[in-house]
Symmetry: C2
Subunit: 153 residues, 2 copies
DNA sequence: GGTGAAAGTTTTTCTCT
DNA sequence: AGAGAAAAACTTTCACC
């Protein structure tokens, strides 16, 4: 775990909220001048504390009306079976997130599709037949009331 | 839904993957010069197709070891009860995502905490006593095998 | 680890097509 | 809408504290 001071934390909080803020503005907000601020950002990127930057897009305006959470149980929980399933999921573009959980459900997936039809097609032809799958329960997202990716800095 | 051509889609795909790419580089990748490329990006921001930019941070390096999915059922599904619950959740920084679902479970929440103790504290003192909550089932994330926020452009 | 100034890029505006 | 040139702003390096 990286050694981070208060300035680093504020800097990361700013970048998490506003990933394209300019370095001068960022420096100003955290009380530094531009060069040391940039050095800190670069070093946080190097260290992998900052994993990358992403534009957040409006799925519905792009024609992706359907967001689904799928709870998946596997037939075997052997490490080999788990990683085979994970690798398979990495190859499916509709599957945006794969989280391995404790308890009854082995994985929760976040799936984004254009419409119900293409989701059903995906479910029956791609997800259910994936290696080791015992059961899949899906829930449609009616609406997303809060979406603040990241950590509560 | 916005009128988007192929150039817009490629541009959005690039920004979703690499949110801090420079405008000149972005222009080059989509086959434009810088000025029209910037005009397109600004207009997509204006239209809300681009909702914002975020740095993706490594939660564990920042001392947030615990990611939990909580499945919440409410006592009432009247719209007023739903929005009251949602508004309450918006005020809790540990709760990063709130998705309303169809079926048995009313909401799925993504919660990020520093450790098990602070999560338990949060669960018993903040989440379970929230207005209208009938039941909460939580699952700890063992590992996240895929995390590609956004849409499959 | 921070500062100030200078050099190199990039963003942004303007004008033209 | 897109292109090229010019102005403004930002990033990045350097020498110094």
């Amino acid at each position: 775990m990286a050694n981070l001071d208060q300035i680093d934390r504020r800097l990361l909080a700013e970048l998490q909220n506003e990933g394209r803020v300019t370095n001068v503005e960022l420096a100003h907000r955290v009380g530094l001048t531009a060069p040391p601020c940039l050095r800190r950002v670069r070093s946080l990127e190097e260290a992998g504390v900052i994993r990358g930057y992403h534009a957040e897009l409006d799925a519905s305006q792009l024609g992706f009306a359907i967001t689904v959470f799928a709870m998946v149980s596997l037939k075997s929980q052997a490490e080999e079976a788990l990683t085979e399933f994970e690798n398979h999921m990495r190859g499916l573009p509709e599957v945006r997130e794969v989280h391995m959980l404790n308890g009854e459900i082995d994985f929760i997936l976040k799936i984004v599709s254009r419409d119900l039809q293409s989701f059903q097609e995906f479910l029956t032809s791609k997800l259910t037949p994936a290696p080791n799958v015992a059961s899949v329960k899906t829930s449609l997202t009616i609406r997303t009331a809060k979406y603040q990716p990241g950590v509560p800095l």
